[in-house]
Amino acid sequence: MSANIKTLGRGHWREKRGTVNWVSCGSCEGWFHVNGKLLDEVRAGRSYFHCSHCQDEFGFETAREIVLVPAG
């Protein structure tokens, strides 16, 4: 399975945009939020996501969906 990754646009600096990345669990489909450092580590295969709903542990590719905010 390959994660469905959506990266939000940057928009104009005066427009409010997202500040937090969200991950949907591949097992229970629940959503939880993660910071950029963990995201990078999981993407590089050096760490994993821990679903706060079903406690499943999974990697970047097995997430159901990931919504990424671009760095400011």
Partner: protein, 474 residues
């Protein structure tokens, strides 16, 4: 048979919310001090003083009612609103509606049961209050001044202060932008004195309905009818006949003339902003008649206190709602908080589209009285200033989310204005969250830290039932 809605019917229906101190209380400071104490403790009973002690030590046989509109929830209930939090939308509807008034003859007008004319008039017998330390004397603070536009004959009504200077003389202070001031200037430009009548004491629906922010020239009587839910009963004034009508079921009416181009010192006086405003030049009224009920009650507004600020701010909410409706349907609630006097407004929006929050801010900041407006999402309770502060502290980057508008018209009573200023500086703050961009995904922001609703509900019940008397409050 329906009961006429007046001050008496209001008091009869709200006995439980009314405090009647048994002791005599001086009209100088002591009654107003009760209102300060109530504001400080966050308690807002209607206060009726049956034994007002006059400056010469005598007890007036005219009771004083004050704090009538200090409570938002009581005021909303009396107005028939579903909830005080819905004042903006529901008062907007009222302001937009109207019921034509009825005219009754003098013998059916309680307010003309007693008539004093000419030298029989004695303003000094009214239990008017000297509220604050710098006030130079006793003021009528809930006197609704009614004048008319000499070009159209259309009347206007507004609450404006009057300092009692003698038995038949009182100042009449009105800011230059007011509709009554426009009428007065028109009479003066024609070389005439301005006819005027002041009515005091009525049902809160009448008092608040008459404070609607209307166009010029536009009579307030139909709006008052919409607030009352029935035609307002009017009677021709004794001095000016049907050119100036007054509410037949009011408590007291003072009639007279504002002499052309005559100004005298007025004030200092406690203003709505909570400071004592400076002494100014003001017109004055030569009184020609005082009419009243046989058992009249005198109504006083605590100037700068919650009593005065609440009804005016609720009417502002209705006015602002009409202004934002022209821009977007996304505004759900508006709060003009007592803490910000008339200068601040909080607006709640449901799912604002990109740019909509700023559209709303630009629209409301055009309103003369406002200095700052904050827009938040519908998860923020705009009637809880802790929530507003939380949104400001966690959802705003100032460079991105705030903008300043300079050189706009504003309240010249703003104590922060540099001397001689004619315009003000205003601030809009978008404290909303960014909107969702991916269908089905959460907003790309941090979620609130919460516990499950049902567990919280039980915890709230447990807390309410616990013996908390000894618990620290701060």
């Amino acid at each position: 048979m329906s009961v006429t809605r007046d001050l008496r019917s209001f008091l009869a229906e709200n006995e439980a919310a009314t405090w009647r101190p048994q002791e005599a209380l001086a009209v100088e400071h002591e009654i107003t001090a009760l209102q300060h104490a109530g504001d400080q403790s966050g308690s807002y009973p209607v206060i009726v003083v049956d034994k007002p002690k006059m400056p010469d030590g005598s007890i007036s046989d005219i009771p004083v009612i004050c704090n009538m509109t200090a409570s938002r929830s009581l005021t909303a209930g009396v107005l028939g609103l579903s909830d005080h939090r819905h004042a903006a939308s529901e008062l907007y509807e009222r302001i937009s509606g109207g019921i034509k008034p009825d005219t009754v003859p003098s013998d059916q007008a309680p307010v003309q049961e007693i008539v004093f004319e000419g030298n029989e008039c004695d303003l000094e017998k009214l239990p008017a209050l000297k509220q604050h330390i710098f006030d130079p004397g006793r003021y009528l603070t809930a006197a609704h001044a009614t004048t008319y536009d000499p070009e159209t004959g259309i009347d206007n009504t507004a609450i404006q202060r009057c300092w009692i200077k003698g038995p038949q003389k009182m100042t009449y202070y009105t800011v230059p932008s007011s509709h009554n001031a426009r009428n007065m200037r028109k009479f003066w430009a024609n070389g005439e004195d301005c006819p005027i009548a002041f009515w005091i004491g009525h049902h809160p629906s009448v008092v608040i309905g008459s404070q609607g922010k209307l166009d010029y020239p536009q009579s307030h009587w139909e709006t008052v009818g919409a607030f009352l839910g029935e035609p307002l009963r009017l009677v021709p004034s004794k001095t000016h006949g049907d050119k100036i009508m007054v509410p037949a079921d009011a408590e007291i009416v003072v009639e007279g003339w504002i002499p052309k181009d005559k100004l005298e010192p007025d004030g200092p006086f406690g203003e709505y902003h909570g400071y004592s405003g400076p002494q100014v030049l003001a017109p004055y009224c030569n009184v020609t008649a005082i009419t009243m009920r046989k058992d009249a009650i005198y109504h006083d507004y605590g100037s700068g206190l919650t009593d005065m600020v609440v009804p005016d701010n609720m009417m502002m909410e209705g006015k602002l709602f009409g202004m934002v409706r022209a821009v977007t349907p996304s505004v759900t609630k508006i709060h003009v908080p007592v803490s910000g006097r008339r200068f601040h407004a909080y607006l709640q929006m449901k799912n604002p589209m990109g740019g909509e929050a700023r559209d709303v801010l630009a629209a409301v900041l055009a309103y003369r009285r406002l200095k700052m407006a904050v827009v938040v999402d519908d998860d923020i309770d705009i009637f809880d200033e802790r929530e507003i502060n939380w949104a400001l502290s966690t959802r705003v980057q100032w460079e991105r989310d705030s903008f300043q508008l300079n050189g706009l018209s504003g309240s010249m009573l703003d104590p922060s204005l540099p001397f001689g200023s004619r315009t003000v500086s205003k601030l809009g703050i978008d404290a909303t969250l960014p909107q969702s961009e991916v269908a089905g995904a959460p907003k790309p922001t941090l979620p609130r830290s919460v516990v499950p609703d049902d567990i919280l509900k039980q915890a709230v019940t447990n807390f309410a039932n616990a013996d908390s008397k000894e618990w620290p409050k701060e």
